[in-house]
Amino acid sequence: MNDAVSIATRVREGKITATQVTQAALNKINARNHELNCFTAVTTEMALADAKRIDEQVASGKNPGLLAGVPFAVKNLFDIAGLTTLAGAKINAENPPATQDATAVTMLKQAGAVLVGALNMDEYAYGFVTENHHYGATRNPYDTTHIAGGSSGGSAAAVASGLVPLTLGSDTNGSIRVPAALCGVFGFKPTYGRLSRAGVTLFSSSFDHIGPFATSVRDIAIAFDVLQGEDDLDPVCTKRPVVKTSNDSLHNIDGIKIAIASDYFTQKAAPEALAAVEKVANALNVKDYVSLPEVHRARAAAFVITASEGANLHLDKLRQRPQDFDPATRDRFLAGALIPSNWYIQAQRFRSWYRDQVKEIFQNVDVILAPTTPITAPLIGQQTMILDGEEILVRPHLGLFTQPLSFIGLPVLSVPIQRENNLPLGVQLIAAPYNERMILQVAAVLETMGIVCAKQ
């Protein structure tokens, strides 16, 4: 499949029409979605009308935008005008349709991209597996007996299977990075607050981020550029100036100090997850290690805050109709509602402390490498896994290496490592807050070297 930039270039040059590209994407979705279960809604009529408008702009010599004619889809917690926002829940299916698009959807459409549908996820984004009780499991395009990861599983699998070149997901504890790694595509979570979450169903506002999935670094960069900007509708959205990353060459990492995350990030990981990090480090000739302090407590604090905020958000429904929740989330939400306030506040205060500690570390290093997940995609229905000789639960532990980073809002890109005759893995490129550009520079170099590439 062509990436978004190559599609948009050909559409702008009149070599192909947006309508042709959109129709081809719709055909692929029709042919493969019953097998993969990525899409929960396909917006055929709206998509073809939008594509026609792009074609008219091209024909009349107007600028149709950086993403002209690029088909995209969004996790079904993004509002799409005219559709009910499911957030993976049966309960939300009773809500009226959204009256306007989420800010991020609007921005991609304004850049000429064509929305083709909404994508499957874990209920209320509370999971790393996308085995949704109401809407089914999304299957991994590499091997459909395995999970796609989650909670943005539909977003990752739709890109990995070539149904669309660009999707949006959300990441609270790893929900973009985990499925990106397990499906072998790029998944980017910029700095907390960098991209507007207006019109996105929140899960745990302290950590909720949005971001893109794509098959190339330049697509991630262009989506990041297009999605930036102040938004009064999201109080968390930054007022910092927009950083453009896609205009000039990213292929220079001179002077960027890179190190490998040690200790916590090398434990409880399968050998192949550590080998993926080593492969990236060797390619970049990186030999230095860096240790982040108290990472296990960071993960614990993220766990407490997520459980508490998530439960509070859904408390009314937990009172009125607990039977309508996904059994995989219900008991966790119910338990989260009972957390003493002291645990929550202590976890929030720890978050400030940890942020300051990690800020110090970024005085001496620019980009840190760590595995994205401890293992490759588990089987659908798999409950436990063996790590360091210990049998542990699959669902919470897939976020072992992602959760302590989103906890303090660091920008992270999961880059895909393809493994011959094996399921793929991801490596996290982690930077200081607002240093997304350096991450994209390192990723672009790795891509040119052929070390990282998305499923083709």
């Binding site: 614990a300 407490v304 509602a337 957390i339 645990w343 720890f350």
Partner: protein
């Protein structure tokens, strides 16, 4: 923590927040709460300086 009767805490706390717990969910809720409790201790046992504040975003 082993001597804590989580059932008792969960019953009282659920009542305090007007959350009726159905019997069929009880075991799952207790198991999940015990898990959260163990995880929370990892944070709670760590001494923070008094001047560390949480960072909620509130713009008046």
């Amino acid at each position: 923590m082993e001597d804590i009767d989580f059932n008792q805490y969960i019953d009282l706390m659920a009542k305090l927040i007007d959350l009726e717990l159905k019997d069929e969910y009880r075991d799952g809720v207790v198991a999940n709460f015990q898990r959260i409790s163990t995880i929370a201790q990892v944070v709670n046992e760590f001494t923070l300086p008094d001047d560390v504040e949480s960072s909620p975003i509130f713009i008046p």
